[in-house]
């Protein structure tokens, strides 16, 4: 109970400082912290030692192939799964003991999980309906009663420890107590006037529901039955329903997976917009790297229950830390090579200039060459020569496989080259990205 009330009060203060004028110091501070979180299902390790810091107002994406533990991580934060070990801190307070319904998080589920027995309006209003509208006022009354009790005890203490046993003092204390009681009653009455009546609360609900329905572009759909909505509409209802509680953190579990491409792109944009305007921390789970790159402030790449890399989309794309990340984020040509010295890497039998340093001499490394960084040039003008093996038209670009003597390089280019043509591959030194072998 103690942790609980303390937590709420910290949230309250945080909320006010955050919502009015975004305090710079606060936004830098880690808001959610996962410390060495592990999870086992039937002796199978699903998560091993997840360490993660999330700042407030951040759009964080957990990205990874299915079964990598990203959804498990999300559900641990949401309170639906208890981790086998580790800590989850919100603002420095451990929340693992808190049940899901007391956490300042709301979730948009993968399959929406809208209530089929309620219409759109009631679905969105659900979070408000289960909330006690007078909770804060009631808490205030509790506090008043506590102080009254303490005051009375203090007075009683005086009497109990009065050696003279004087009747005058006893009477005096009695009167003081009575006065305190009257005061308490008055104070409670004052607090009670702030109670929101059922009717008034209904009005508040109506206002809020229409506000959030408008936000997700569903005003006018209040009386619709859930079964009569399209996938995109259901998804919007789910978002409105999660947002109406004004959570500190919104957890999104692959919410766009069921939508078609066009709608998905639209919703990506809208989600980002909502996140910016509402000032909420978003934790987004997806297996779609493009989605992750488009929306996130920070991407957490996971594989087999471990975090591979944390960074901004640009960092993750340009500086993948290992073979897995390089392969998973975008397409890449990964070549194993040897780091001769700083700024010089050797692969496919040649030495190439690069911009990486800090490796041991002759260390075995993986080299990443992004298909779009490779250029096809005329024979004799590039760095490696080969023959065009296959050409696939992809819409925006051609995907051309060039067969060199050691391997096949994939190139994305807008210039068409016929199959069988002898060409050279060229790139700039900064296009080479060298990674340690994991």
């Amino acid at each position: 109970m103690y942790i609980n009330s303390k937590l709420i009060s910290t949230y309250m203060t945080l909320y006010f400082t955050m919502s009015k004028h975004v305090n710079r110091k606060e936004s830098i501070m880690a808001f959610i912290e996962l410390k060495d979180v592990t999870k086992e299902f039937n002796n199978q390790v699903v998560l091993r030692g997840i360490d993660l810091e999330i700042k407030s107002n951040e759009f964080v994406t957990l990205l990874g192939p299915s079964g990598c533990g990203k959804t498990t991580t999300l559900r641990i934060i949401g309170g639906f799964i208890e981790p086998t070990g580790g800590e989850v801190l919100f603002d420095g307070v451990d929340i693992l003991k808190l049940p899901a319904y007391k956490r300042p998080t709301n979730t948009v589920f993968q399959r929406y999980s809208l209530f089929p027995h309620l219409n759109v309006y009631e679905n969105v209003a659900f979070g408000l309906r289960v909330k006690d509208q007078n909770r804060d006022a009631k808490k205030q009354i509790e506090v008043l009663k506590e102080t009254y009790k303490k005051d009375c005890e203090a007075l009683q203490y005086k009497v109990n420890h009065d050696r003279s046993n004087s009747e005058v003092l006893k009477l005096e204390v009695k009167e003081q107590k009575a006065a305190l009681k009257v005061k308490l009653k008055e104070a409670i009455e004052v607090v009670k006037t702030t109670f929101v009546s059922k009717k008034k609360y209904e009005y508040i609900i109506e206002e809020k529901v229409s506000k959030y329905l408008k936000m997700v572009g569903l005003d006018g759909y209040e009386d619709r039955s859930i079964s009569k909505l399209s996938g995109g509409q259901m998804q919007r209802v789910a978002i409105a329903r999660a947002l109406i509680n004004e959570p500190k953190v919104l957890l999104l579990d692959e919410p766009l997976a069921a939508l078609d491409l066009k709608l998905r792109q639209e919703m990506q944009y809208e989600l980002k917009e909502i996140q910016r305007s509402a000032g909420i921390t978003f934790i987004f789970v997806t297996h779609d790297q493009e989605e992750a790159l488009t929306m996130s402030d920070k991407i957490v790449v996971m594989n087999k229950g471990e975090i591979q890399q944390i960074g901004t989309p640009v960092d993750i794309y340009n500086e993948p830390i290992n073979r897995f990340v390089a392969n998973f984020i975008g397409e890449s040509n990964i070549v194993s090579g040897i780091m001769k010295k700083d700024f010089l890497v050797s692969f496919d039998g040649y030495d190439f200039e690069c911009v990486d340093k800090g490796f041991d001499t002759d260390q075995v490394v993986d080299v990443v060459l992004r298909p779009e960084d490779l250029d096809i040039v005329e024979l004799g003008q590039g760095k490696i020569s080969g023959i065009v093996d296959s050409v696939i038209f992809k819409g925006v670009h051609f995907e051309i496989d060039v067969k060199t003597k050691d391997r096949i390089y994939t190139v994305h280019t807008t210039d068409f080259k016929p199959e069988g043509m002898s060409v050279d591959l060229d790139w700039y030194p900064e296009d080479i990205h060298v990674m340690e072998v994991w």
């Binding site: 049940p99 319904y101 589920f109 809208l114 209530f115 027995h117 979070g127 289960v130």
Partner: protein, 288 residues
């Protein structure tokens, strides 16, 4: 020249209709033979005098008058409805939590427990009633010095009804509960509903239709039962089943039919009431 608008021909899809009709014809025949004809016969019996030959049949409402005039008949009618109603309510209060708890267990546990709870459906109801009777006799002779002390009381009859008809309440509720989307509980919890609020706001409204089905499954057979009153009523309680039984045994077919009709009307009224309450029927309709 004047162009007359061409008459639009309404093309009826008679072929499909025919096929469906033929497909359903065995059932229509069955309904006609097994439902319509018996009802007509019942009506005929109820509204005519008992006579040995067809010629002397006359229309009459004497059978109904006889029924309504005698206060004992009315009271036994009310008693039947009352006892079965109470039993159904008790069944509901037992089964609803059980079904909910069951539906949240492991699948294998669910199956075993459901099989155990419904096992008394596999046993002849006569034996069951007799078993309950024996128990009450034992209690009677142990505590009240008279083995038949408890027989014929509301307690004995209701206990018997609850015991016999419990599975009929449990099965529809449990089947429905097991089908409820567990994700919905999670999303309710996520939105701030505690366990109780989840039950009140999600589980109950979504399972209401199954409750009503279960209620009817208990209430309807319990109100016309013969076995229970015979063994647990110990002949002291005349319920409507006994009256019909008695009427037919003594050859008063018209009278028996009249009682059955009155009972049917009353039960139909209850079914109507229950269906009225069921405002979440759409939930069931959505399920495929």
């Amino acid at each position: 020249m004047i162009n007359f608008p061409k008459k639009q021909q309404i093309i009826k899809d008679t072929k499909k209709l025919n096929f469906e009709f033929y497909l359903g014809s065995p059932y229509y025949l069955m309904i006609f033979v097994l439902v319509i004809i018996p009802i007509v016969l019942m009506l005929l019996y109820a509204f005519t005098t008992d006579a040995s030959s067809l010629v002397s049949i006359r229309f009459t409402i004497d059978n109904f008058i006889e029924f309504f005039v005698q206060p004992t008949f009315i009271s036994s009618m009310l008693e039947s409805v009352y006892l079965s109603f109470v039993s159904a309510v008790i069944c509901l209060f037992i089964c609803y939590p059980v079904a909910f708890i069951l539906s949240r267990r492991k699948l294998i546990t669910q199956k075993i427990l459901v099989a155990l709870i419904t096992s008394n459906m596999f046993i002849n109801s006569l034996l069951l009633a007799y078993a309950v009777r024996s128990i009450f006799e034992m209690i009677g002779s142990a505590f009240f010095d008279q083995s038949r002390y408890l027989l014929g009381t509301d307690l004995a009859i209701i206990a018997g009804m609850v015991y016999l008809y419990l599975p009929f309440m449990l099965l529809p509720i449990y089947t429905h509960m097991a089908k409820l989307d567990k994700n919905l509980f999670e999303s309710a919890e996520d939105l701030g509903a505690n366990k109780l609020q989840t039950i009140v706001r999600v589980v109950i409204p979504m399972s209401l239709s199954s409750v009503l089905t279960g209620f009817m499954m208990v209430f309807l057979p319990a109100s016309t039962t013969l076995v229970i009153t015979r063994y647990l009523g110990d002949g002291q309680r005349k319920m409507i089943g006994d009256l019909i039984d008695l009427a037919f045994k003594s050859g008063k077919f018209g009278y028996g039919a009249a009682i059955a009709l009155v009972l049917a009307v009353i039960l139909l009224f209850f079914v109507f009431l229950i269906k009225k309450v069921d405002k979440y029927e759409g939930v069931l309709a959505n399920e495929e």
